[in-house]
Amino acid sequence: MIRLDDGIVALFGDPQAVKVLGTVDEHGAPHVVSKGSLTVLDDGYIAYGESSDSSQTNRNMVRSIWFDKPVTVTVIKGGASYQIRGKPYKCVITGPLLKEFLLRARERRGPDADVQSVWIIIPDEVRVETPAVRREEEAKKRPYFNRHLERDALV
């Protein structure tokens, strides 16, 4: 497990940030969905509330925890973007954490909102996906790879 730095943790709590969860189905097809409830718990694990146990995301998460497959969480705001790879650690089906996520969902979306499970993910790698940072890194590694000539042309 890696500890997420404070800046990334803060992004999870920022209401302007976009948070998405990436999973894979039984055929290897990626499935990427927005999950506003994604948050970092006090112990550094990532968690989100699953509103429907029959969803494709939920089935993919079950497959991942059962067969030790990774998932990704991406958090984006303005130009900054971070992709966190991790593995599902726990599926919470009852108890205080489920209740907490449920009540929060009902505060935001009304009394008919539901959270049927809370998934906890252990982060094990962070990739900075901020475009400017990615470009600079790639350019440093392979300065002449597919670089368009007119970028360096005179006039």
Partner: protein, 417 residues
């Protein structure tokens, strides 16, 4: 009993069946071998977060043996529920300890997996307006409320109880228990008030489940208990604005008229007449009461007829998986036992009925005490086969899944469907 499969241990079965989740294989083994808590773990579950009722469905010996309360069902990290019952442990049982605030499953010295327990619900410790403790009215599983309107099975009156059964029995006296400790007949108003209180805890429950001992009395056989179930379901239903509510009744096979009453006069969604054992000749030996009232064909017919009323996929039937190998009359080779079960499962699935497997535990208070269970690998092959069959017929166990019953490995596999 001679088995034609080698008895592989947990790690060997997990390695041999990489397409079956290790959590589910572990669950099956926990149910097969039993679970005991260390003193430290037992102390930890006396905490208000975990402490459950001392009154269980399966016997009072364990309840009386210790002043400490047992916890609710165990929950593995992936959300799999494991129902086990104290009082039937052996030398070979797994152990749950509490180490640095975490519950751990141990096999000897080896740490197998983390585990938690279903939390104590908020309604426990409260009483109805008639002064009845609510936890004696409804027992809590992780997401299910279990209500038992009648704590007695009349098959025992004439010695016709199912041979594997230990319901409501006193382990020492080998008979059913009555007395002030257990309320035999539930007052429907107590059910209404208890469910009302339970619903105040957001996110705690998503199904209501009823079962009871068999009462074949009445103007027509089973009329008394059908009437009782209707009264209790109607009382429970007063808590909901919807006509129907997520619910299941596990009960004997009834006539079509009785099924129609249950469906039309209550909010019941799902019905489960347990066939217990799929082989025709073994049914007669193992379930003499069901054979007497009114034989296997009647029980099969009851399930099939119920599909016309409750709908495709809303009728279930449990088997006590493994009891088909009880001796001297049961299968002597597990391939034969497996074949019998898979054929039976397919028959029912073709008609829209979901057969589910419960791991057989030879209760000390049952006629089959001391019998040898099939090996773990049998159960893994069985649940795979059951799941594959039901999936092929488009059947998903919405009313009997991993969160609610916790008894069926084949239901657990359906989380991917």
């Amino acid at each position: 009993m001679a088995m034609d499969n080698n008895e592989l241990n947990l790690a060997e079965v997990i390695e041999k069946y990489p397409d079956v989740p290790r959590f589910i294989i572990l669950k099956l083994d926990l149910q097969l071998r039993g679970v005991k808590l260390t003193d430290r773990a037992l102390e930890a579950v006396q905490d208000d977060r975990y402490r459950h009722s001392g009154i269980s469905l399966y016997g009072t010996e364990a309840d009386k043996a210790s002043p400490k309360a047992a916890p609710g069902p165990a929950i593995l990290r992936d959300g799999t529920t494991v129902v086990y019952t104290p009082g039937n442990e052996s030398e070979d049982s797994y152990v749950i300890d509490n180490v640095d605030g975490k519950f751990l499953i141990l096999d000897g010295e080896a740490q197998i997996e983390e585990v938690d327990f279903s939390p104590r619900p908020a309604y426990y410790g409260k009483k109805t307006s008639r002064g009845v403790p609510m936890e004696s009215v409804a027992n809590a599983r992780p997401q299910r409320l279990d209500i038992t309107p009648y704590r007695y099975c009349h098959f025992w009156d004439t010695g016709h109880q199912c041979k594997y059964c230990g319901f409501f029995t006193d382990l020492r006296e080998q008979r059913q228990v009555g007395g002030a400790q257990l309320i035999k007949v539930l007052d429907p108003e107590d059910a209404y008030e208890t469910v009302k209180e339970a619903l105040k805890e957001p996110g705690r429950f998503s199904q209501i489940y009823l079962t009871a001992g068999t009462d074949y009395g009445g103007p027509k056989p089973f009329d008394n208990e059908v009437g009782r179930y209707i009264e209790v379901l109607q009382a429970i239903g007063r808590n909901f604005k919807s006509r129907r509510f997520p619910s299941q009744l596990m009960a004997p096979a009834y006539s079509k008229a009785q099924l129609r009453r249950l469906h039309d006069e209550t909010g019941l969604v799902s019905y489960c007449p347990d066939i217990e054992v799929l082989d025709e000749s073994l049914f007669k030996w193992i379930c003499p009461g069901k054979e007497k009232w009114f034989g296997r064909d009647y029980w099969v017919r009851g399930a099939l007829d119920a599909v016309d009323i409750f709908g495709w996929g809303n009728v279930y039937s449990n088997i006590v998986a493994g009891v088909e190998t009880a001796q001297p009359h049961g299968f002597k080779a597990i391939d034969e036992a497996l074949k019998s079960n898979l054929e039976g499962c397919e028959f029912f699935a073709r008609h829209g009925v979901q057969v589910l497997a419960v791991v057989w535990k030879p209760w000390k208070s049952s006629a089959f005490r001391g019998q040898k269970q099939p090996p773990l690998e049998y159960y893994v092959r069985l649940i795979k086969g059951f799941h594959d069959i039901k999936r092929a017929y488009g059947l998903t166990p919405d009313s009997d899944d991993y969160k609610h019953c916790g008894n069926h490995g084949d239901s657990d596999l359906a989380r991917l469907d």
